[in-house]
Amino acid sequence: MTVIETHSARETAEAGEAFGREAKPGDIYCLDGDLGVGKTVFTQGFARGLGITEPVNSPTFTILQIYEEGRLPLYHFDVYRLGDPSELEGIGYEEYFYGDGVCLVEWGSQVADLLPEGTRFVTIQKRLDKGFDYRKITVTDREDENTGD
């Protein structure tokens, strides 16, 4: 288990960037945390780490955004709007989850049953007693280890 503490959106992006630099084909990250906690900020840094320079927007509306200009293809999911995990099948998720690129799945625990073995779980949390910009980023290899603070 890895715990990273950040104190600004910039630091959260830098944490993501470090993971992006080390990402390997087939890696999947399940990204959880409340609204506005910085899941997209983390992903923007992650994309930079892969060498992607185009703006990475929130995929809330489109569910999936694909970026192919980096070292590896990045498949950026946001499954918040899905009514049911089975709706991912309509998107053809297997092609991405079991492909040669890297997947980042925001609100991924909503589709936990569909996440392949080897998925890494990233949880971003606020701690208001430590200030509005403080974030605790927890990275584990199994969902059940990820019990927050």
Binding site: L35, G36, T40, V41, Q44, P55, N57, S58, T60, F61, T62, I63, L64, Q65, I66, Y67, R81, L82, G83, S86, E87, E89, G90, I91, G92, K126, L128, F132
Partner: protein
């Protein structure tokens, strides 16, 4: 001259839509799946995200569009379809359907960019509108400030770096307990609030003065809520959402007017679902009037995702003979101005 009638299909996101458009300027029919009771009419299903729903809706919606225009496939001169940007599975349903219809009828196939379609919605609403003009496209999935040089020439001047404007509305509505869809609910609630009660930060991007960032405003709203909660204070929700809306509207208006001034333009159009927002319409109209700029804003039915706008944009491709091959594919991250 003979009328050119285009059957247009749109399935880039949640809506399955079909329309018949004459000469790019007149919608003879404009059917959106959530708008008609497809279930009763033809045995369809309620809208959902999956492409499965598009598959079930698409034929009834196309049939309703042809019926509405009092036409059959024989009366159609071309078949147009949105091929990006959007959700790949959703786009593919429309693209495959359009290809099949074009092939079966022997008519040309035209691929259309979704955002170019939103801009073209204004050609349906305003018969005399001609480029060049500035266009602000704001919806749940897109925020683009575009210089429209000609019917088929676009230059992206500004875009969002994080959340789309409509998405910021949805997320803030969720945070304050107003629910979905956030845009109309905030618009309504804000009418009871003071838009100057709270000053929310307006983001500026270094080196990209026309780009937008809305995630900062969203975070500021969440921090405001958290701070009130910690202090045990009650939040005036109407004031909060009115102030939030004011911050978004101010950014959209100031960037748009900056472009109009810089390029010495006399026309500004808005398009996309968020252009239905009453505060945005009012502020934009006021700013345009003050500077002697003509302001165009399509009716609600043409602001939301629809196929009539695709049929309008397709007409100008038709006139140029810009037809797609049978290898036309869905392009989820299609760039504005890119051609198949």
């Amino acid at each position: 001259m003979k009328d050119i009638r285009i059957l247009a299909i749109e399935s880039s996101c949640d809506e399955t839509a079909a329309a018949v458009v004459a000469n790019g300027r007149e919608a003879l029919s404009n059917i959106i799946n959530s708008q008609i009771d497809v279930h009763t009419l033809y045995g369809g299903v309620v809208p959902e995200i999956a492409s499965r729903a598009h598959i079930q809706n698409i034929n009834p919606v196309i049939r309703a569009a042809l019926d509405g225009a009092h036409m059959t496939l024989d009366d159609i001169d071309a078949v147009a379809v949105t091929y990006g940007p959007g959700l790949v599975g959703s786009l593919l349903v429309g693209v495959a359907e359009a290809k099949a219809l074009a092939w079966a009828t022997g008519r040309p196939l035209i691929g259309v960019h979704h955002i170019e379609g939103h801009i073209a919605a204004n050609y349906l609403a305003y018969k005399d509108l001609k480029p060049p003009f500035a266009a602000l496209v704001v919806s749940g999935g897109h925020t683009h400030l575009v210089m429209v040089q000609d019917y088929d020439r676009f230059e992206i001047i500004g875009r969002t770096r994080d959340d789309a404007a409509g998405e910021a509305f949805d997320k803030v509505a969720r945070a304050v307990g107003l629910g979905y869809p956030g845009g109309p609910k905030i618009d309504k609630e804000a009418k009871n609030g003071n838009p100057h009660a709270i000053e929310f930060p307006i983001a500026h991007i270094d080196g990209a003065p026309y780009d937008f960032s809305f995630s900062g405003i969203k975070s500021a709203v969440l921090n405001y809520l958290n701070e009130a909660k910690m202090k045990g204070e009650t939040v005036n929700r109407a004031d909060l959402v009115a102030s939030f809306q004011q911050a978004i509207v101010t950014t959209l208006v100031s960037h748009s007017m900056q472009l109009v001034r810089e390029r010495n333009l006399d026309k500004l159009v808005i398009a996309g679902g968020v252009s239905a927002n009453s505060a945005l319409r009012a502020a934009m109209k006021e700013a345009c009037t003050a500077e002697g700029v003509a302001f165009y804003c399509p009716p609600l039915i043409l602001c939301t995702d629809n196929a009539a706008m695709i049929g309008s944009a397709a007409y100008y491709e038709y006139c140029k003979g810009n037809f797609a091959g049978w290898d036309l594919n869905a392009v989820p991250n299609l760039k504005l101005g890119q051609r198949a």
